[in-house]
Structure formats: C-alpha cells, structure tokens
C-alpha cells in the first residue's frame, strides 16, 4: 500500500537521489542546485519519458501492435528531434541483447546484483553510463571513446572491449571461458 501522500506523489517521478547523483557527475564540483530546480528537473525527467513513450505508443498502435518495442522507441527518438541519441542507444541495445544471449545460453541462471530494482527478477538493468559521458547535442559529434568505454561507429557490435570485432561479440571482455578471443 502506498503511504499517505504528503506533498508530491513520488511514484510518478524518478527517485530524486538518482536524479541528483546523475546531475552531480555532470556539474562542476563546486556547483549547487537549488531545491526547486531539483524538483523541477525531476518533473522534466518524467515529462520526457511520457513524451517519448506517447510517440512510440502511437506508432505501435498505427501498426496495430500491442507492445512497444525497442524499434518503436528508437523511431520516436528520431522523430521527436533526439536523433543524437539513436546511435548510442543502438549500441546500448546491442550490448543489452548480447548480455541477454550470454546470460541465457552460457550462464543459465539469473545474475544476482546488489541493490538493484528489477521490474521482474530476470531482468537486466539499464547500463551504467560512465561519468563524463557527454552527448554532443546538435554538434553532430559522437566521440566513440566516451561512451561505455568505447564503441564502434558502425554499430556492428557493441563490444566495448579492446577492439575485437569478432563475430562472437557475446563474449564480454571480462568473461572469456574459451580463452580464444583476445
């Protein structure tokens, strides 16, 4: 049961702690954020989610499908002017898919992670975006060395390891049971 509502219904926002933590990585060390700015940004985050979801959902319905897919989301990004995001998101998606394949085929059991909130217990969580990850909005620049420890522009595989473009991209750089791919 939800606790009685005080001032804001927190369920419709991302936890403010997460929001602040992510902002602090970006802001200069000495910078502060006013309390009302923190709350406003928290609201902006939810607005953004609704905005993209709405567009993705409309596309889904137009094509008479019931479930929003990754492709719907990517399409919505492009349509709504966030095409800068499409490239990194595609990389993240490939990595996510590799991890899913790896997890189900090689490990065969759910990975336990500390302190993670799963929608369902088998779910992989969104990626860690390292500190200093900057998106060159509308500068058209995507420095491949920034994101996720490096990724390839052609997006052919999401392997952020040393540089292997082996087709066995499902092996991450820290899990190499065969020792063949170095």
């Amino acid at each position: 049961m939800l606790p009685p509502c005080t001032v804001r219904e927190q369920d419709q926002y991302m936890p403010i702690a997460n929001v602040i933590r992510i902002m602090r990585r970006i802001l200069p060390t000495h910078a502060k954020i006013s309390d009302d700015a923190k709350e406003t940004i928290q609201e902006c985050v939810s607005e953004y989610i609704s905005f993209i979801t709405g567009e993705a959902n409309e596309r889904c319905q137009r094509e008479q499908r019931k479930t929003i897919t990754a492709e719907d989301v990517l399409w919505a990004m492009g349509k709504l002017g966030f095409d800068d995001y499409v490239e990194p998101l595609t990389v993240f998606l490939n990595r996510y898919r590799e991890n899913e394949n790896e997890r189900t085929s090689l490990r065969g059991e759910p990975i336990l992670k500390r302190g993670m909130d799963y929608g369902s217990s088998m779910r992989m969580a969104p990626p860690y975006v390292p500190a200093g990850f900057h998106v060159g909005h509308h500068q058209g620049i995507f420095d491949g060395t920034n994101a996720m420890g490096g990724y390839f522009r052609d997006g052919s595989n999401g392997n952020a390891g040393g540089g292997s473009s082996s087709s066995h991209a499902s092996l991450t750089n820290n899990f190499d049971p065969f020792g063949l791919y170095k």
């Binding site: 802001l27 006013s34 989301v73 993670m116 909130d117 990626p127 860690y128």
Partner: protein, 125 residues
C-alpha cells in the same frame, strides 16, 4: 559465480520498475523489456543534457547555484525540448516581480524612464 560486478558494464541508473510505472501513467500501455531499457537509457542521456546545459547557463551568469531560470534558458535553447517541456516549467518569479513593479505606485500616465512598460499594459492615451 564470477566476481565481475566491478567491471560489469550493465548497471542500472534508474530503477526499472519506476521507469515502467512512469511510462504507464498516462495510459495502459504494454512495453517489452528492451523498450523500457532504452527509455531508461535515453532518459539518462536527457537528464545529463539538461544538467550540462543548465550548468552552462548558470556559469554564463556567474552563479554557483543552478536555478530554475537557468534550466528554463537551457530548455529554450533546444528546439525539441521546448516542444514538450517549456510549458511545464514553473512561471518565472522574475517576470511576476517585474509586472508587480510596473503596476505599483507609479504615475501610469508618465512613461518609465529606465524600464519600458510591458507592451500589453496600455497606458491611458
């Protein structure tokens, strides 16, 4: 079980359940895990963008504290963001204040020397 968590690249920034909850706020939608994962990632990118741009504005104004006004200016500088966000931002305190100033104990038939009256304030001809 390998002790790989320190180098495991997949770690959540936003709680998955909350992402889904917010997505479903307006309507009862169905979303697959990949899609909510991407929404979570892109929201992270967007938040970083807002933070970065707002901090830039604060720095331009030589302020150490990022305020809503800085956020508003940052939003106004990015067309796609204006489209869905500008109207949601709280009304600026500053503009309310300057309206209050214009209306206060001043002879309204005389134009203000240092500050023009707002265009909608029709002075008696």
């Amino acid at each position: 079980m390998t002790e790989n968590e320190a180098v495991d690249p997949i770690r959540p920034e936003f709680p998955t359940g909350r992402v889904k909850k917010i997505m479903k706020l307006d309507k009862d939608i169905k979303v697959n895990p990949e899609a909510s994962f991407l929404i979570s990632c892109s929201t992270n990118l967007f938040l970083q963008f807002l933070a970065e741009r707002s901090a830039e504005v604060a720095a331009e104004k030589k302020k150490k504290t990022v305020k809503i006004d800085h956020l508003r200016t940052a939003v106004k500088r990015h067309r796609p963001t204006i489209d869905f966000l500008l109207d949601s931002l709280p009304v600026p305190a500053e503009s309310i204040q300057s309206v209050a100033n214009s209306l206060s104990d001043r002879d309204l038939s005389r134009p203000v020397a240092d500050k023009p009256a707002p265009p909608w304030l029709e002075l008696a001809a």
